[in-house]
Every structure is written in C-alpha cells, then in structure tokens.
Amino acid sequence: MIKIGIPRALFYFRYGEFWQHFFRNLGYEIVVSPSTNKQILEQGLKYVSSEICLPVKIICGHIEVLKNQVDAIFLPRFVELNHGLYTCPKMIGIVDIAQIQVGNACEILSPKIKDNFMLAHFQTGLKLTGNPIKVIKALNRAIPYLSHHKKLSNSEDHKQRILLLSHFYNLWDDFIGKDIINSFQSCGFDIATKEDLPDKVLKSDKGFAKNIRWVYERELYNAFQYYSDKVAGICNIISFGCGPDSLIGEIMSKQANEYKTPFLQLIIDEHTSKTGINTRIEAFSEIINRNYQSKPYLTK
C-alpha cells in the first residue's frame, strides 16, 4: 500500500485534519510527522539559509523526517486563495526547496492551488486512484473537517482578554506557540485569536484591508481591526525574516498606537528562549494593567 506522508507543519495546522481524512477515505496509509522538536528543527536548519523564517525551517525538518519512510510527501503548492490573493513567496517556493531536498528519496505530491482548492484535491485523488466517484465521496466525507479551527477561549467572563495575532502555523505549533500562550495565561489573560472570528470578518475587504493582497495578512489585519477596541492588548508574533509580517505588522503597530491599544511585537527565531519570551510578556502585562486601570470598560 502506498504510504503518504504529511509534514506536521505550515499548512497542516489549517488543512491537516481534512487531508488525513481525505487520503484515509481513499484508502491510503497516512504518516504524519511527529510534533516539532529540537532535532526536527535542527534537521531543517541544514537545508535552508539562515535568513529564512522559522516555519519554513521547521517544515524542512519535517520533510527530512518523512522522506525515507514514505512513498510520497503531500505538499500542495498554495499560490492563490480567495480570488486572487497570494500566499507568500516562501509558501510558493517551499515545494521547490523540498524537491531539491528529497531528491530521489520519495515523490512530492504537490497539486498547484490557484483559487481551485477542491478541484486541485480532486485531481490529486483522481491521479492516485483513477476513480472519480471514489474521490468525490472521499472529498465529501472529509469536507466537514475543513472548518475545524482550534479555539483557546470561549469565555464571556470578566477576565482580561488579549489578542494573539499570528499565523496559524506559529500559534498552533506547540514548539513555537505553546510557551507564548502559557505565558499569557499564567499572567491571567484570556486569549483571543483570529480563528475565533467568522470567515466573513476575516475575509472582508473594507478599508485598508483591500490593499492587502496576501491572504493571511488580510486575515490578521481584519482580526486586528475587529478586536482593537475589544481587547486589553495585542501581541503580534512575527518570525524573523518574514516579509509580509514585517510590513503589515508595522502598519498594525502604527494604528494600535493611534488607538492607544497596547501592542507587543514578539520576534521569534530558532534562538528565541522561553525565559526571554516570559520576561517580555510579563513586562507587557504590566503595561496592560496600568492601561486597564484607567479604562476598566475593556473587560469585554
């Protein structure tokens, strides 16, 4: 039986469940790489230049883990989503990097996704099985798992709330996100993320958002706008070397300044230490508390 590997990194944190169900429904064995750890990261560091962002380094590590145990690695090339919005140069290029990295060790299954998410998956399935009906059935049964978004808080209680603004592959990869989330929680905050918001808000193209042609940056920006007067503070996690974040992060930070919402930019890379993060978050929560005493209405 053909074994298909899925790296537990980058797009896995949005589409992973869907992919697993889809390929299982088609009758393939799925191997998902283990959760990111230090060794995986170090493997990845060997394959890309040091100036590339952390999530790309991490996914290279996962590909390394998978390449000798599976027949094919599933790594779609996300070029455009949501009607002509781009992902990011590195998400497009990662497939080529992976191809160079694995060489002949295994295949890379990488349908090109240019505003045709379902069709691209259908074609992949068809190529594998040659049975359109089976593929449609498999897709249909997998679709409910597309909208499985993680949530951290569902509270309407009167704890203080902060917004953690970050790409899903940073936030939900425990190797990166867990320390940050824990640190905020132990400072007594409730955490809102962009995943809590309905698609309608995230995909809106009102105001400045219409200028942003990067699909995930637009989501981040919309979440920022939506929450900016509903939370006590905003923390923006940026990977060092991330191009889109370096710009949109700057724009958000300038606007947060205008709105007088406390805004923390946490820049992370493979050298970031847990203590460093904790110190910065504690200092930030001090600022929020001071700010909050003057504006108690910010609880909700």
Partner: protein
C-alpha cells in the same frame, strides 16, 4: 511642482529625462551616501528589506533639497515591494505634511498612460506615449553603455573611469531620439579600445534582486570593484528590460522562465525566476562563476538561493551568495569577493572543475 524619485543606478538619468519630457521640474536628491542609509534606517521598520531603507533615505534627502512631489513605483503582488509606498507615505507625511506622494503602479500601463500621467502633469496621452518611447530608447542607450564600460574596465580601469564620466555627460545631454543615435556612436567610439578581450579572462555572471543589481550604492559598487580585479562582469538586468517586461514586450523572459523551470516550477514573486534563468544561461555560455546578490531576508531570492546551490552542484560552477543589509561592510565584502575570484582563478588554471563546498560560500555577511 518639484518632482523627486529614488535613485535607480545609472538609469536615474533616463527617468529624470522622462519626467522632464512630461514637463516636470525634477529635483534629484544628493547621491546616496552613508547619511542616506542611516536616515532611511532610522525611520524604517526594523525588519524591512534594504531597498526600502535606501529609497526612504533618498526621499528624505529630496525633501531637504526642496522637492514637494514624490514618485514611487508600486503595485502589490507576491512580494513586499508593492507595499513599500503605504508605509513610506505615512513616514514622509509625518516629516513633511505638505508633501504630495504618488505611488505609480507598475502593472497597469494603460492607466499610467491614459489617466495617471495626464492627470498629474496635465499632458495628453500621446505625449506620455512619446515620452515612454523616448524612455525606452534612452534606457537602451544606458544598457549599451554599461555593457561597454564593463568590458573597458577589464582592459584599462583608469581609462575606463575617465571615459565613463564623459559618456555619462553625453547620455544626460541626449534629449531626443536623434541625439540618442548620435550619443550611441560617440560612446562606442569612446570605448573602442576594449573591443577585443583577452581569451583567458575570468567571467562572472551577476544575478539577484534588481535594485541591488542596478544601484551601485546598494551593491557597494560591485561591478567596478570586480572590474578593478580584472574580472569581466555580465549583468543582464536593466531598466530597459524591466520596462519592456512591464509593457509585455520582453520576449526573452519566456526563455528565461523556461530555463528556470528545471529548478522553480512556479514564480515565487520578485525576480527569482529571472535570477535562476539568467544564472543557467550564463553557465551555458561558459562563465567561471556566478555572484548572487540580494537584500538580507529577501524572500524570492532566498528561494532562488536554494535553486542556485543545486545548480552549482549540477554544473560544477562556483556560486557566491551575497546578502546585503545596512550593516554590510565594504571591506568585508571585498575580502569575500577576492577570495571567490581566487577560487575561480584556481579552478580555471587547473582546468579541472572542482566543487566549492557550500559552507565556505554561505557565511552570512
């Protein structure tokens, strides 16, 4: 209305003449210096790529020089460049509230010809088209000149520098098509001492991000420095080709993209496909090495870098990657260039092709 725009290497002259043809009064900021860079860096977001910082520095110095209308290329696509102007405008408005800032989208030539330019300068679309035609001719003249001067430097560096100054004056003075034709002949005559190149010369192909390939201040004058070492530099990027590309008449691109396809199956944005395609062409034409230059953390070029490493292995041609930011020191850069050229010389003399280990080429800065 006093118009200014950021420097763009030798092609600055062509852009200046273009705007003057439309009736603008152009104020060129002082040539970029360390001050430009530190001013730009001071006001820039920390993690942004180098072209942002230098062009912002240019703008600030242009304001100091009395400009009140600023032009910046725009057009949001996959990479950061198209978004520069949003932040630059905010920053510049904080410095001088009265400044007019016009982002010019690169990817809408029709809007540019029929709406944008006629509105800003109150001229007819026909005049804009005539000026574009002139811009093409002028930037082609500059491309030609750059090619000649690169060859001339290898033969006699001092003489080339003297003639270079003279040639630049000729280029600046050419303000219609007739004069451009005359200028081309004059420049050719100036550099005819370099028509025949010696056989065993070291040839290096320069590829990378367009701003760093064209703006001498940003690339620490890499072409001149290599010329001083007696190395012939090949550089196929120019404003001329870029404009042709924007007007969809650069048919060489198709070939380049095709050549890049072996390594990159989809454009990651920016100039990555060009970089990879050009490098492969250079190698096919028998260069001794490739120099890949790009801004620190540049997204498309970091993807291209991996492709180039593979290419270097496949064809056994050494590649030097130079990632440049505001901390890059010229001395450090020169040392690396010299070491690289030494390797190329050794390889050439041995006539045996050996592989340069990746680690020796990839030390940051």
């Amino acid at each position: 209305m006093k118009v200014a725009f950021p420097y763009f290497g030798y092609d600055t002259i062509a852009l200046k003449n273009f705007l003057e043809m439309l009736g603008a009064e152009v104020v060129l900021p002082p040539l970029p210096t360390e001050r430009t860079l530190s001013l730009g860096t001071k006001y820039s977001p920390e993690l942004i790529c180098l072209p942002f910082k230098i062009t912002l520095g240019n703008f600030i110095e242009a304001l100091e020089a009395g400009a009140d209308t600023l032009f910046m290329a725009a057009g949001a696509r996959k990479c950061r460049f198209g978004y520069y102007h949003f932040i630059q405008e905010t920053i510049l408005k904080q410095i001088d509230n009265n400044v007019d800032f016009y982002p010019i989208s690169q990817y809408t030539p029709f809007e540019f010809i029929f709406q944008k330019m006629p509105k800003i300068f109150s001229v007819s679309p026909a005049r804009v088209m005539k000026s574009i035609n002139f811009l093409l001719a002028h930037s082609r003249l500059i491309e030609n000149f750059r090619k000649l001067v690169r060859q001339a430097r290898v033969i006699d560096f001092t003489l080339a520098s003297i003639h270079e100054k003279h040639a630049l004056e000729i280029i600046a003075d050419a303000i219609n098509l007739m004069q451009i034709r005359k200028a081309r002949k004059e420049i050719k005559a100036l550099f005819n001492f370099a028509d025949d190149l010696p056989e065993n010369i070291i040839k290096v192909g320069l590829v990378g991000e367009i701003y760093l390939m064209l703006e001498p201040f940003a690339n620490h004058d890499i072409e001149k420095e290599l010329g001083k070492m007696g190395v012939l530099v090949l550089n196929n990027r120019s404003l001329y080709r870029h404009i042709k590309h924007l007007l969809h008449i650069d048919f060489d691109r198709i070939k380049l993209n095709h050549r890049a396809y072996k390594y990159l199956k989809e454009s990651p944005g920016g100039e990555a496909l060009n970089t990879v395609g050009e490098a492969r062409t250079f190698i096919k034409n028998g260069v001794d090495g490739i120099i890949h230059i790009f801004p620190f953390t540049c997204m498309p070029e970091n993807i291209a870098l991996e492709a180039l490493q593979k290419m270097s292995d496949d064809y056994s041609v050494p590649i030097l990657s130079l990632s440049i930011d505001e901390h890059t020191s010229k001395i450090g850069l020169l040392t690396r260039l010299e070491a690289f050229i030494d390797i190329l010389k050794r390889v050439k003399n041995q006539k045996a092709v050996s592989r340069v280990p990746r680690s020796s080429l990839l030390t940051p800065h």
